[in-house]
């Protein structure tokens, strides 16, 4: 059972892993207004929360990695799995820098979008995306960021890039290999099927 807000946010990669593997799960979506009542019952006071036969597991990346291991999306060797983790953690650092602007786009906060684009988003992008572009190129532009098969970091980045393309078109024009990798990921049949039918949300 996955418990999260009624949006993609920090829960979507877990949902995608379930849909890709064909393993059924309870997609428990909590409306914003009801969240305060649930907070105290969460081990770390936050969502997403995964429950496995009733046993709770918090922290989004711990959840993604656990499911990816169970379902075979963690990388094809310990070294590859470590690189999947490294790219994901580097992405997390970048996301922490850019999220303040995204929250304004999602309607969670007020802010001057143009100023934040200049002061926050562009510097964050220019630190991270050249490295990611190189990673995709060094991986032979094969449609994955690490290795030769789908891993959870592919899903993590593809979801974020889709958000950027929606709210900030043109933002990643300098990173064609990243864009083509994301396009390939999003056209994986089982993933595309979920993307086409999932509930809509701003975030």
């Amino acid at each position: 059972k996955l418990t999260y807000f009624d949006g993609r946010g920090r829960g979507e990669v877990a949902r995608q892993l379930f849909h890709l593997s064909g393993v059924p799960f309870e997609d428990n979506r909590i409306p914003m207004a009801e969240w305060p009542a649930h907070k105290a019952s969460m081990p770390f006071g936050k969502m997403p929360l995964l429950e496995v036969n009733g046993k709770p597991l918090p922290q989004s990346y711990a959840i993604f990695r656990y499911l990816a291991r169970e379902f075979g999306f963690v990388g094809d060797s310990p070294f590859a799995a470590a690189w999947v983790d490294a790219v994901a953690d580097q992405f997390k650092d970048y996301f922490d820098e850019i999220k303040s602007l995204l929250f304004v786009h999602f309607g969670f906060a007020q802010g001057d979008k143009e100023k934040m684009m200049k002061d926050v988003a562009i510097p964050a992008r220019d630190k991270f995306f050249p490295m990611l572009e190189k990673i995709a190129k060094d991986n032979h532009n094969n449609g994955h960021f690490v290795g030769a098969s789908l891993t959870w970091v592919d899903l993590l980045i593809a979801e974020h890039v889709s958000v950027l393309l929606k709210y900030m078109p043109g933002f990643l024009n300098d990173y064609p290999t990243v864009l083509s990798t994301v396009k390939k990921i999003n056209s994986i049949p089982k993933l595309k099927e979920w993307i086409d039918k999932r509930p809509d949300s701003t975030f």
Binding site: F44, P58, E70, A82, W83, D89
Partner: protein, 210 residues
């Protein structure tokens, strides 16, 4: 056995976790320490993400400390005995990361070098140090109380124990009394540091300010 080199600065900092895993596993590694001003700029462009620490395994780099620490710990049996336990080790480590790099940082980085009577330090402690402490350490207390084993996850030492105990031992030294409301946490840090391989490493590691 692969040839391991840990590349980091001459401090404990973000490199200490990996060194302690090597010590615990009793695996040899080259402990390469870079002078921040004289040597790091030249090496920086060779690293995948322009950051340290980087672990080198048979000539290939793995950046991001949790990524290479998890790989090492998993290989040597210090990442939890089941996949679910391993996930809880990851969750505790990520929760600590959120705590350490969030608002607590505004107090902690000042505290590390604060002199006696530093008023800014006291102000930051009230504004950030105490509230953030009181959000994070109850989770550690609860976890230790629930396992009852002296370890954070399951009944054996994991890299989460090393991560938390190292930070706690520095807090206890730098801000005496700061964790007095968290007795299990303090006991845990003391116990982890008595594990023979860890105690031996602490004894012989270079002494650095941070």
């Amino acid at each position: 056995m692969p040839k391991y080199t840990l590349h980091y600065f001459d401090m404990r900092g973000l490199g200490e976790l990996c060194r302690q895993i090597f010590a615990l596993a009793e695996v040899d590694f080259e402990d390469k320490r870079y002078d921040m001003e004289k040597e790091w700029p030249a090496f920086k462009s060779q690293t995948p993400f322009r950051q340290l620490p980087v672990l080198e395994v048979d000539g290939k780099f793995i950046p991001q400390l949790y990524a290479h620490c998890r790989m090492l710990a998993t290989e040597h049996g210090f990442a939890g005995k089941t996949p679910f336990d391993a996930a809880w080790v990851d969750a505790i480590a990520d929760q600590h990361k959120d705590f350490y790099w969030g608002d607590f940082k505004k107090f902690w980085w000042r505290a590390l070098d604060a002199a006696e009577g530093d008023l800014v330090h006291e102000e930051l402690k009230t504004k950030f140090g105490i509230p953030e402490r009181d959000k994070f350490f109850p989770l550690i207390e609860k976890q230790l109380t629930e396992t009852g084993t002296g370890f954070l996850v399951g009944d054996s030492v994991t890299w989460a124990d090393l991560l938390i105990s190292e930070h706690v031992s520095v807090i206890v030294r730098v801000v005496p009394g700061f964790l007095d409301a968290f007795p299990e946490t303090k006991k845990h840090a003391e116990k982890i540091r008595t594990i023979p391989q860890i105690a031996k490493w602490i004894e012989r590691r270079p002494v650095t300010a941070h």
